[in-house]
Amino acid sequence: MKEEQLIGQLKEGNPDAYRELSAQFTGRIYNTALGLLQNKEDAEDISQEVFAEIYQSVSQFTGRSKLSTWVYRITVQKSLELIRSRNRKKRTGILFSLFGKEDHLTLTNTSPFYHPGVKLENKERAAILFQAIEKLPVNQRTAFTLHKLENLSYAELAEVMGVSVSSVESLMFRAKQNLRKLLGNYYDQNEK
C-alpha cells in the first residue's frame, strides 16, 4: 500500500490500514523505545502508547512530513516523557548530581541493559556503552541512539527532531565527545 493511500485509510479508521501500519512500524517503534528507555517492559508500554496516539491524532496528520518521520517523532516524545517523569521522581538523584561525579560510570550489578540485537562478541561492551548513553543530555542521547539503532541519516534525524542538519552534526559530535570521556573514565577505573 502506498503511503498516501495508507494515510487516507488510517484517517478513515480502516482496520486493515492499522494492520499494515503495525506490520511496517512495530519493529521501528519498539526498537527506538527500547534503545532510549533500555527496558523491555517500558518499551512495550510506550509502543502501545504510540499506537494509541497515532489512532487519536492521525486525523490531524497533514502529510507534510513522511509517515515514518511522524511515527518516530511520537515514539521519541513518548519515550522522553517517561524518562523525564522518572527523573522527576528521583529526588535523591538531585543531591548526587550536585555532589557526585557526573562523569563517573559504574556498571551496577543490578541489570545492565543488553540489547537483544547486539552481536554476541559485543554484548559486554555494548552494555557499558548503553550506560554511558544514559548519562548523555537528552538531545544527544536521542540523536546517537536513533543513528546507531535505526540507522537514520543526519537528514532524517533532523526531520524527526525538528532541527537543522548542522544541529544534528553538532549533537552527534558532542555525543561522541562525551561518550569518549565517560568511557575513558570507566576504563581508568575498571579496565586497567
Partner: protein
C-alpha cells in the same frame, strides 16, 4: 592488554551492525485493547501496608476486649463482661445454628 584508545573505539563501535530488537508478536493486539479500553490502572498495595492494617485492627480489638473485661467498676462483673464480649463478637454463630 588493550590500550585505552583501542578499547574506547571498540566500545563505541559495539553497536555497529546491530539488528533491530523483535517485539512481542501480540504487541499490536495489546495496543488495540488499549485503544478500545484505555490504559489499565494498576493499583498496587505493598504487603507491609496490609500487615500494618491487620496489626492495627488486632490492637484495636485487643484494646476493646481488655477495656470491656478488666476495667469494670464492680469486680464480680468481669465474668459477665467476658460473656458480653463474646456475644458482641460472635453473636452470628447463634444465628447460624438456628
Amino acid at each position: 592488554m588493550e590500550t585505552k584508545e583501542n578499547w574506547i573505539n571498540k566500545t563505541l563501535e559495539s553497536l555497529d551492525d546491530v539488528n533491530r530488537a523483535e517485539s512481542d508478536p501480540l504487541l499490536f493486539n495489546k495496543a488495540l485493547q488499549r485503544i478500545q479500553y484505555g490504559k489499565p490502572t494498576i493499583i498496587s498495595i505493598r504487603s507491609s501496608m496490609i500487615w500494618r492494617v491487620a496489626a492495627l485492627i488486632l490492637v484495636l480489638i485487643s484494646f476493646n476486649v481488655i477495656t470491656m473485661v478488666y476495667f469494670t467498676k464492680t469486680p464480680g462483673d468481669s465474668q459477665i463482661n467476658v460473656k458480653s464480649v463474646a456475644n458482641e463478637y460472635f453473636s452470628y454463630i447463634d444465628s447460624i445454628n438456628l
